[in-house]
Amino acid sequence: MKSWAWLVVLMVLASPAWGVTVVHESVLHRREIAIAKKLRCTVCQAESLAVSQAGIARDMRKLIRQKLRAGETPAQIRAYFVKRYGDYILLKPPFDPLGAILWIWPFALAAAFGGVAIAVMRRRSRAPMPATAPELGPEDEARIEALTRQE
């Protein structure tokens, strides 16, 4: 029992130190950037939290890191920010009634344009061709000969 208590004390004492070790920090940083990349800096124009130099972006990055340290998953952290700032903070719009068109659009376009292109090429290629050109006469051959010599 006593040894258990010691272990708990040791763990509590050591836990901030884990955060400082280089490996741990770099992994945390990578995760933090991965999350920050998908969130918008709320005071900037079209910049993500990952790249913004604004003060609030720094603070929000710090918050992400704290939450990561506390063991929250990226999904939980994203949910936290969405709850506070709304969908506006997500740089990748969700597939919901408002954002759905953005995700359907590329496929709809591909179907529409691709379909039209195929239809046009099929129809046009079936259309009657102009009559075949008449055979070349000796006169034409002489002209071609003269032209090639000029080259």
């Binding site: 770099s26 990349k37 709304g86 997500l90 719009p93 953005l102 376009l109 290629s125």
Partner: protein, 666 residues
């Protein structure tokens, strides 16, 4: 103190600009007047107005530059975009460093293009030149209206302030000095194909008489737009300090959309030249490309999107630009619907598998790409206007949607140039695709194996790049071998003769190679970058992806119009010194981080310095692989384009010599 004359020289420019506005209106109306009054002589007014307009606008521009150089703060534009500390270089560039001046630059470039077409057309298409000039004149008048009545760069200020405000610190960089003129040369350049198309519709101009000229003007504009976009990325990378070069910012998208449609256009136009088809589609593309150029200007200049590019704009300008755009496009598309029937294709597809059908696929993909960027850029604006709901569409969305589209583009790029015109010979085509295809596959497997847990786009993209490169090399190789057999030349001679003999085609292939080099750069820097943000004390060493960087301390430095803290770092692997700065410009509370980059062919070590806290400084280190490939690829694209266009100059010389020879025979 300035003398009275130089203080008020700006009024000469103002007068010239007003005069130009009226000349532009006359230019636009002269052919109409010639028709109404049945006196064809009036048409020449239109043509002769072009150089006059250019001259007047140049006078206006020069007086603004003169006011900037002489610190004439009685001019509002000078007082708000320049001050006495600003280096001369940036004083000149301040002409387009602010909102009003940059609109003036737009008009100036438009008049320059108009004058150039005026000269170009005198001997080549004199019968339609007046109408082309009239269309250009209408555009010039429209933009002059905006410049003179809503965003006048000649406005005076009284009392005269002793000192001006500074130019936006972020814009004080050589990259930014080049970027706007290049981009505008591109945007505005697409007005020329537009004017040709309008003239063709208005006057029933037979397509083979104008499409060749249009193609060259479109290529010219496309080259500048490409260069402008690359310079913009370059500026973003070396100045903004976020370690990247492209962020799917709405303003970047605004320049990318006309680029995508312009790319579709320059491909599709050659189908019309070669196969006499797609006439109406090409006119549609020409109008759309120019429409997107206008839209880009509207998005950037109206203040609808706020960003570093938009400066500050009054709402009236946005409404003006929007109205102007709607009028121009309604007229253009209306004309297209009414008169487009005359511009009918003369031939049609023979087979769904042919070079022309590959060009169709190119067009389909580029149009889809453009429409996706368009929706992603505008949808949040519409949604907010319509429902008040705010959503964001940012890089994660665009990466997800656009990267697959880019990959399909690469695939079409590989196959397209191998397919013969009219009807492809399927076995032959298959034979030509096998080896490059296997090579690409091998490369993809190699990349997937070497960098094991890697996102799927990396091996696919590299594989496709290898595939395309192999098809291009094989294509050139086959042509060289054929030539050697035919002309009994040495390999080198055969190569140069082949390539020089068909500059248009091989120029295009060089452009494709440049795109491949850019693609490699995008894959490398997009998927293999690493970054770290740490607090460092002098003497600390930071390691990231095989690179070790030592922080040696800081130093205070003073620039011409700013104070800065300079971080001193050493890349230990090659001893390179890095000097990132944090600048505070006079008259601006903003702190600007200026990164420092040590660049080699394969990787950039990129570092920013931030705030300090208890003897430690915030250091943001990025390792960006292969970024140089993007800039090199851009250079190759432009070189290839120039090579392709040089064909035209050569042919003209030959025609001229031929004509002379013929004349001397007589």
């Amino acid at each position: 103190m300035l003398s009275d004359v130089s203080l008020n020289l700006i009024e000469l420019g103002h007068f010239a600009a007003y005069l130009a506005f009226f000349v532009a209106i006359v230019q636009a109306l002269a052919p109409l007047a010639a028709r109404v009054f049945k006196s064809p002589g009036l048409r020449t007014i239109s043509i002769n107005a072009a150089p006059v307009l250019f001259l007047l606008t140049t006078v206006g521009a020069l007086t603004i530059v003169y006011s900037l150089l002489t610190n004439n703060f009685s001019v509002l534009y000078v007082a708000s975009n320049s001050n006495t500390h600003l280096p001369v270089f940036y004083k000149v560039a301040a002409l387009w460093g602010g909102h009003r001046g940059s609109l003036y630059l737009w008009v100036w470039i438009l008049t320059a293009y108009t004058a150039a077409v005026g000269l170009h057309g005198r001997s080549r298409y004199p019968d339609r030149l007046a109408v082309i000039m009239a269309v250009q004149g209408a555009l010039i008048a429209g933009f002059y209206g905006l410049v003179l009545f809503l965003s006048d760069p000649f406005t005076r200020l009284f009392p005269i302030p002793p000192q001006g405000q500074n130019m936006n610190p972020l814009l004080q960089d050589p990259g930014m000095v080049i970027h706007p003129p290049m981009l505008y040369m591109g945007y505005v350049g697409f007005s020329i194909p537009f004017a040709f198309a309008m003239t063709a519709l208005l006057t029933n101009w037979r397509s083979e008489l104008w499409i060749g000229h249009t193609r060259r003007w479109a290529l010219f504009a496309w080259g500048f737009l490409t260069a402008g976009i690359i310079f913009g990325a370059w500026w973003s990378y070396y100045v903004l300090g976020w370690g990247g070069y492209w962020g799917w910012d709405p303003v970047e998208n605004a320049s990318f959309m006309p680029w995508l449609m312009g790319t579709a256009l320059i491909h599709s136009i050659s189908v019309q030249e070669r196969r006499r088809m797609l006439h109406t589609w090409n006119i549609f593309l020409i109008i759309t490309t120019f429409a997107l150029s206008l839209l880009g200007t509207f998005l950037v200049r109206s203040g609808v999107l706020a960003s570093v590019h938009t400066f500050s704009a009054a709402p009236g300008q946005g409404i003006y630009l929007l109205t102007f755009m709607v009028i121009v496009l309604t007229l253009a598309f209306g004309l297209f619907l009414i008169k487009g029937g005359y511009q009918q294709a003369e031939e049609s597809f023979i087979s769904p598998l042919s070079r022309e059908s590959m060009f169709i696929w190119n067009n389909v993909i580029f149009t889809i790409a453009c429409a996706c960027v368009l929706l992603g850029t505008l949808y949040p604006l519409f949604l907010q206007a319509a429902t008040g709901a705010r959503i964001s569409v940012g890089p994660p969305y665009f990466d997800l949607v656009m990267v697959p589209i880019f990959l399909v583009m690469l695939a079409v790029m590989a196959i397209g140039p191998l397919v013969s015109w009219r009807k492809a010979n399927l076995p032959k085509l298959r034979g030509r695709l096998v080896v490059p295809g296997l090579l690409g596959l091998a490369l993809a497997v190699l990349v997937a194996a070497l960098w094991a847990p890697v996102y799927w786009t990396a091996p696919v993209a590299v594989g496709l790049v290898g595939f395309v490169a192999a098809t291009i090399v094989a294509n050139v190789g086959r042509a060289v071998i054929a030539r050697r057999h035919q002309h009994h030349e040495g390999p080198w001679q055969a190569f140069t003769n082949t390539v020089l003999g068909n500059r248009r085609h091989y120029g295009g292939m060089i452009v494709h190679m440049g795109i491949l080099v850019i693609a490699i750069g995008l894959v490398g820097s997009g998927l293999f970058k690493a970054s770290k943000l740490v607090m460092m004390a002098p003497g600390d060493v930071l390691q990231l992806a095989h690179e070790r960087v030592r922080f040696d301390g800081t130093r205070k430095v003073r620039g011409p119009d700013y104070n800065a803290v300079e971080g001193r770092l050493t890349v230990l692997n090659n001893g390179a010194k890095l000097r990132p700065e944090q600048r505070v410009f006079f008259g601006s509370p903003m702190k600007v981080e200026r990164p420092s980059v040590n660049s080699t062919l394969l990787r950039d070590v990129y570092v920013d310095i931030g705030d300090h806290q208890g003897g430690k400084w915030e250091i943001h280190l990025f390792i960006n692989p292969l970024v140089n490939f993007i800039w090199m690829g851009g250079g190759i694209v432009i070189a290839g384009l120039a090579f392709s266009l040089s064909d035209y100059a050569r042919r003209r010389r030959r025609v001229a010599v031929g004509a002379e020879a013929a004349a001397s025979h007589l």
